[in-house]
């Protein structure tokens, strides 16, 4: 059904207009859209920072950035922006808000007004974070904010305080959002939509919401301690007052490790939907997939010190963290093999979302095996704080997550905007970006093995070659990025209208494909009743 038809039936599509529609919005779709746009804005800023870093690193010596505090600020802000303001808003706030209610047959999120404040807190946090880089000298601490370097003696001025406040506000946003998702998923499923019939994307968001709920308060506590250390003379992390810098690291990584799963588990969800749709098969081993995510989430809370193998932990402690970390490879393997098994025997359509999903598997497997290496405390002494780690985490959680976001955007944009992306251009964009990121990050493994440390603006001359290759990769990636933004612009302006409820055919079985495209402002006015296999026995009936 076309957009016009839905709009004509005004009663069901009544919504505020102008700025009030967005600023006051309590509609899960509008809020989701705003999250995605916020993510685009942050991605441009964070991406520009990374290209500037790669420009400086293309050659040994100092070319462009002669203020090394500024270099450290770039490194810090790039990390914060990409983690808290690009990946999380797009996947959880954006796709989560849009499609969790649609997929479970709920009319909206459980707490629509809380949904509004979640978004606007995040927008405020983004402003605070950007401000932190321009007031004073900027936070030159890395995204890990390790004291004593982040204490007032070494980072004077208000920058780090702005950064802390930004994270506090972003954290509050995340906790509210997490509560909203948990309540929605537990209480607002349509009749017949049992937990074990929920699409895997909904499972992913549920697990992620629990991780947020349990991890973010720990970060908030640590940040508050750092704030009082900086401003009110406490010494939680200062040894001369009986504190310990390593305490910060424990608290930070108790949050920080679940955080990387907060980033990648929604990606698992998106990839599962996409692969199932374009293989025209239900996901292979559904229960195993759902509980693999649950177990990754649980185990993710007890492995944090593998980020701290060089701080001087006892060997027995490191042995434990090594073993616990290795265990995560098992549920992760289950996910990879289940995706492959879903494709096996399928009838695969290589639409752009599917290409992105296959790209995701490739990147995630490479990042995954280097993760198995890094899990070993014994060999970590060669790898810790080198570019090997940089390559690993960009593969496994940065660019893998970005490909999941591309997959999600291409998959759902027809439903979100009522217009389809340009097919050929999007495939070219996929290949350009895919080649770009591999040229960018694969050589960084070599740099790391050869011993090049992270977070340095200049490096010994021997590291030049692979740094240069890596910077060329950054250039290709930049081209791919701008192509994507062009595609976004083109799609909204003159993309082909999507008229079918379900443009993807028999493989797309989840509930968002039974509502019209674009999804009307209010959906599921009569609750659909879900039968076996997660498919509705009565059609959802907005308008008509």
């Amino acid at each position: 059904m076309a957009y016009g038809a839905a709009a004509a039936h005004g009663e069901h599509d009544h919504h505020p207009t102008g700025w009030k529609r967005w600023v006051y919005s309590t509609n899960h779709k509008d809020i989701g859209t705003m999250y995605i746009w916020l993510s685009f804005v942050a991605a441009i800023i964070g991406g520009a920072m990374s290209w500037y870093i790669r420009l400086e690193l293309a050659h040994p010596g100092i070319q462009y950035i002669d203020d090394f505090q500024f270099y450290n600020v770039l490194v810090t802000a790039h990390g914060f922006l990409m983690v808290f303001f690009v990946v999380m808003p797009a996947m959880i706030g954006g796709f989560g808000n849009w499609f969790v209610p649609l997929m479970i047959g709920a009319p909206d999120m459980a707490f629509p007004r809380m949904n509004n404040i979640s978004f606007w807190l995040l927008a405020a946090a983004l402003v605070l974070l950007v401000l932190s880089t321009v007031v004073g000298d900027g936070p030159g601490t890395g995204w890990t904010v390790y004291p004593p370097l982040s204490n007032a003696n070494y980072q004077p001025g208000p920058s780090v305080d702005f950064g802390i406040l930004a994270l506090h506000v972003a954290g509050a946003s995340s906790i509210l959002g997490a509560v909203n998702f948990i309540v929605t998923i537990f209480n607002m499923r349509a009749p017949g939509m049992t937990m074990h019939r929920m699409p895997l994307f909904v499972w992913a968001i549920l697990v992620t919401a629990f991780l947020l709920l349990l991890a973010v308060p720990v970060l908030a506590g640590a940040l508050t301690m750092l704030l009082t250390d900086r401003n009110f003379g406490t010494t939680f992390f200062a040894p001369d007052g009986g504190g310990d810098p390593v305490l910060w690291q424990h608290l930070f990584w108790f949050f920080g490790h679940p955080e990387v799963y907060i980033i990648i588990i929604p990606a698992f969800g998106i990839i599962s939907q996409v692969i199932s749709t374009f293989s025209k098969r239900p996901v292979f081993g559904y229960l195993g997939m759902a509980y693999a995510m649950v177990s990754i989430g649980v185990v993710g809370f007890i492995v944090w010190a593998h980020h701290m193998y060089t701080v001087g932990l006892d060997a027995d402690a490191r042995a434990y963290f090594t073993a616990a970390t290795l265990i995560i490879a098992v549920p992760t393997g289950i996910k990879i093999f289940s995706w492959l098994a879903t494709m096996w025997g399928g009838s695969i359509e290589f639409e752009t979302p599917m290409l992105c999903a296959i790209g995701f598997i490739w990147l995630f497997v490479i990042g995954g095996v280097t993760g198995v290496l890094l899990a070993n405390a014994g060999i970590d002494f060669a790898m810790h704080d080198t570019y090997y780690v940089v390559a690993h985490f960009h593969y496994v959680m940065a660019i893998a997550a970005i490909f999941a976001m591309f997959a999600g955007w291409y998959y759902w944009i027809g439903k979100m905007s009522g217009r389809q992306y340009p097919d050929l251009l999007s495939k070219v964009q996929f290949w350009v970006f895919f080649i770009g990121v591999n040229v960018l990050f694969f050589p960084q493994h070599f740099l790391g093995l050869a011993g090049m440390p992270r977070r340095i603006p200049d490096y010994p001359d021997a590291y030049w070659g692979w740094n240069y290759v890596s910077s060329i990769g950054a250039l290709i990636t930049a081209v791919g990025t701008f192509m994507f933004f062009y595609i976004v612009w083109y799609t909204y302006r003159s993309g082909k209208p999507v008229t079918a409820d379900n443009p993807w055919g028999e493989g797309a079985t989840t509930l968002e494909w039974v509502v019209p495209s674009p999804a009307p402002f209010h959906t599921h006015e009569e609750l659909p009743v879900i039968g076996s296999g997660g498919r509705p026995t009565t059609q959802a009936a907005p308008a008509e």
């Binding site: 090394f68 505090q69 450290n72 030159g140 390790y146 004593p148 003696n153 040894p239 001369d240 310990d244 810098p245 025209k280 098969r281 239900p282 292979f284 081993g285 195993g288 060089t310 701080v311 001087g312 060997a315 042995a319 090594t322 490879a329 098992v330 289940s338 492959l340 098994a341 494709m343 096996w344 025997g345 399928g346 009838s347 695969i348 359509e349 296959i358 490739w362 497997v365 095996v369 290496l373 070993n376 405390a377 014994g378 060999i379 060669a382 810790h384 704080d385 070599f446 093995l449 050869a450 011993g451 440390p453 340095i456 200049d458 010994p460 001359d461 021997a462 030049w464 070659g465 493989g507």
Partner: protein, 281 residues
């Protein structure tokens, strides 16, 4: 996969490479276009090499296996070749296998991994001690068993380098250590967290204010070994190199005599508490 690519390296390097650093017999630093770990010069690094080789086999094997399946699936089960999708959604045996096999692989990895971990944990029967203190942005070294003398190791600015001295890796006073000696290394810092890292020796340990970390090293070959601070420590983080010169025991004894005189003005306390106190204010 890496091994195959390696064959290409000399050709690329010949074509593109700028003049490399003059190579002597044992230079513990990265080479242009290097793709693997630095050559080992200590037993710990030897074992890291062995373990890395094992892991490479496993990692490359897994990646190729997944890639092969992915390639086959994309080819064989494309909509063109397989228009009717199968509707099977479970296979308990298969699911048990792909859970159990990774566990076996992980155990194969974990056993040598744990051995390595405990091997380089703590100094056994060490013959001397080196104390290392990190500062923004230089290192201080102290030799408690050789008369407790100590000196600062300041990076040499780029303009003052002599030919053959690598940029960003050269210091004025390098750490001199004897070969074939078990050396206990004690590490701390007096301002922010630094990290004392020498890749060829398999050495990397945080220098944390308020803590003393312990590690051991035994250098197999005479030579010069370079490293860089490996924990972000502020503005000049990339400009606080570590340079270790490993010499024979005799040469070391001679150097100690000289050094005792040269650095005699130090009062012998390893960390100057007054100065540290002032710095932390």
């Amino acid at each position: 996969m890496l091994e195959k690519l390696k064959i290409l390296v000399p050709f690329i390097a010949l074509g593109v490479m700028a003049s490399p650093i003059a190579a002597s017999a044992e230079e513990g630093l990265a080479k242009p276009w290097q793709m693997n770990l630095q050559d080992a010069a200590s037993p710990v690094m030897d074992k890291i090499h062995d373990f890395h080789s094992l892991l490479m086999v496993v990692m490359v094997g897994i990646v190729l296996f997944v890639l092969a399946i992915l390639g086959y699936v994309c080819f064989r089960f494309s909509a063109k070749r397989n228009p009717v999708p199968s509707k099977t959604s479970h296979n308990t045996l298969l699911e048990v296998v792909w859970t159990a096999v990774p566990i076996v692989i992980l155990i194969i990895i974990a056993i040598p991994g744990m051995r390595l971990l405990y091997f380089h944990d703590r100094a056994q029967d060490y013959e001397m001690t080196l104390k290392v203190t990190g500062h923004q942005w230089y290192w201080t070294y102290n030799y408690p068993d050789q008369g407790d003398f100590e000196f600062d190791s300041i990076p040499v600015p780029e303009g003052d380098l002599e030919p053959g001295q690598p940029r960003l890796l050269t210091v004025d006073n390098r750490v001199v250590l004897p070969v074939d000696t078990n050396i206990q290394v004690l590490i701390t810092a007096d301002d922010v967290i630094h990290n004392w890292a020498v890749p060829a020796l398999g050495m990397k340990i945080d220098a944390t204010p308020g803590r003393i970390n312990e590690r051991w090293v035994r250098i197999d070959k005479e030579g010069m070994y370079y490293g860089m601070c490996s924990e972000l420590c502020g503005v000049y983080h990339s400009f606080m190199p570590i340079q270790v010169e490993a010499v024979s025991k005799e040469a070391f004894a001679k150097w100690v005599e000289q050094a005792q005189e040269e650095f005699a003005q130090n009062d012998g306390s390893s960390v100057n508490l007054v100065e540290a106190e002032q710095k932390s204010r």
